[in-house]
Amino acid sequence: MNVTPEARPVNARRRILGDLLLAAAVACVMAVAPSVYSNQLLLFNFVMFLTLSQGLNVIYGFTGYLPFGYVGFFGAGAYGFALAVMHLHAPPLAAMAAGAGAALVLALVLTPLFRLSGAYFAIANLAAAQAVYEVISNPALEDITKGPYGVSLSGVYAPDTSYAVSVAVLTATLFLVVWLRNSRFGLSLRAIKEDPISAAMSGVSVVRGRTIAWLCSALIAGLVGGTFAWQISVFYPETAFSAQFSIFAVVFTLFGGVATLTGPLLGVFILYGIYNTIGITVPQYFQLIYGTLIVALVLFLPNGLVSLLTKRGYRVP
């Protein structure tokens, strides 16, 4: 492509503007949606998956490391929130911070997993999420976590506030992705994904880049987990650590296209929309559909729906 020096900044500015507009539009739509549509829980679920998919996008899309146990951070956030409320009688926002802190600690503990190459990282991460679940749901810890019997946080139940907070988390996440797409740091992450050795030789700090992306991604999932605990207020360990969360986030992100802002959004709106029309009554049929979709995507469209446009030279936000 021939790009004249004068034209480039204008183009770049237009790109950033496009990204920002899309992010702001989605955030606004989800913020006003409850006044138009009365099923707030359904809207909350959409916000939750929009945020989780973008959070997964931060680590998988930009660094190529697939966290199959992404739900571990979500569950850590939910249980961090619940434990802070139950034992410290913390106000909800402080409890959110506790949840986010729990997710960050788990992420720090798991940073050595980056020594593993892609496939082993994914499997080890899955095992780690299960290990956290086994600990929290263990009857031996009933005094602390209530074990497998679940937690009840009816004292802080506030669906409107928690919905608003979840939209705030979504907004922050969307702008983080916009920043990653348009910043030097985001570019360095993608360089690491393409070829870590060449990136390191060009002066990119591989370890630092991956770790920051990893912590951001975990923080997002932890915050979503906290809002989930706040919104739902009664839940069991198998709900908070349900593999469904990781699976859906991965499928939605892959379906739309990684490392874009549009891809995961499209994935959630289309697939989670379908799930809510047919999936809840007959989950097996939905499972069959997304299983088939994954196989077809990997074989025929590994870069997701948006690659239909990007291959033809269009830039997708």
């Binding site: 190529g64 697939l66 199959f68 050595p112 997993l113 020594r115 593993l116 190459s117 892609g118 496939a119 082993y120 994914a122 499997i123 080890a124 899955l126 095992a127 780690a128 299960q130 290990a131 086994e134 600990v135 263990n138 009857p139 031996a140 050795i197 593999a243 699976i247 991965v250 892959l254 097996q284 049929y285 499972q287 069959l288 997304y290 299983g291 088939t292 979709l293 994954i294 196989v295 995507l297 990997v298 074989l299 590994p302």
Partner: protein
């Protein structure tokens, strides 16, 4: 109690060797991760369940039927997806995602076809009464499962080291490119290995109702973690190292269940993460390492 835990651990170790062996064979030959391994095992369990319930077929005969049918199913699956995967840039990573999709398809179809109820086969089918061994009384179904596993492992050994196809398979394991250059039909060898890999999962599945308790269409995910723990503890890509991994896993599991039963479910996860972190290169073997 300790002797009992170790002896039953060895039996379960042999069984878990069988659970992981197919996964490791597929990884060793194709360098792809078959995340649907546990679901093929589940299909084997349901095959055994229906063959027993409808026709009263003995699990041993069911295992033979599963062996033949699964090898036959494996060939078209291999040719359908694996050659396309292997030309991709990051085939290992893509294989995880693709086979994860396949595992979801299998689980969904199994739930639609069989329902989500737990199924089991009565243990007395494999002989009545416990077997006494070194002063320990063990359920005869366990002894049976361990014996069949040992036979299957020996069969894989004989295949790899005593047949011409096995020699070619080992050549592909060492270097796919060099095998191709010497005129070996790499795809045919790999397709057969893939078939054998899922057939081994199927045979392990036939005995799952006796060794692991009742079976459901959703059991695959847990089996996968156990199978991974076994093959990572043994040597990844070396099918016979799986025996070591299986035995460490089985004995560890039985010791945990005897002395720390409420934490026993943590074992496969911790074993897997621990070994991956402490000795990744030693356990992965030479061929997997990249720059």
């Amino acid at each position: 109690m300790l002797t009992g835990a170790i002896i039953s651990g060895l039996m379960f170790g042999l069984y878990f060797t069988l659970v992981g062996l197919g996964l490791n064979l597929v990884f060793g030959v194709m360098r792809i991760v078959n995340l649907a391994h546990g679901d093929f095992l589940m299909l084997g369990s349901f095959a055994a369940y229906w063959l027993f319930t409808l026709f009263g077929l003995h699990p041993l005969l069911a295992a033979l039927a599963v062996l033949v049918v699964f090898v036959a199913i494996g060939l078209p699956i291999y040719y359908g997806v694996v050659p396309r995967l292997l030309i991709a840039r990051d085939s290992e990573m893509l294989s995880i995602i693709l086979f994860f999709g396949l595992s979801q398809m299998i689980e969904a179809i199994a739930s639609i076809a069989f329902g989500t109820n737990e199924r089991s086969i009565p243990g007395r089918v494999l002989g009545s009464g416990p077997v006494s061994f070194l002063g320990q009384r063990l359920p005869s179904a366990w002894v049976f499962g361990a014996a069949v596993s040992a036979v299957a492992v020996a069969g894989v050994y004989l295949y790899l080291y005593r047949t011409r196809l096995g020699t070619l398979t080992r050549a592909v394991m060492v270097s796919r490119e060099e095998a191709l250059a010497t005129g070996i039909d790499v795809h045919r060898i790999s397709a057969i290995a893939f078939g054998i890999g899922i057939a081994l999962a199927g045979i392990a599945g036939v005995f799952a109702p006796f060794m692991l308790g009742s079976v459901t269409p959703a059991m695959g995910a847990d089996i996968n973690v156990a199978a991974f723990a076994v093959i990572v503890v043994g040597t990844l890509g070396n099918p016979l190292g799986t025996v070591i991994g299986g035995i460490i896993y089985g004995v560890g599991l039985m010791l945990m269940q005897t002395y720390l039963s409420s934490w026993a479910n943590l074992l496969p996860n911790l074993l897997l993460i621990g070994v991956l972190l402490i000795r990744p290169e030693g356990l992965f073997g030479r061929a997997v390492r990249r720059a």
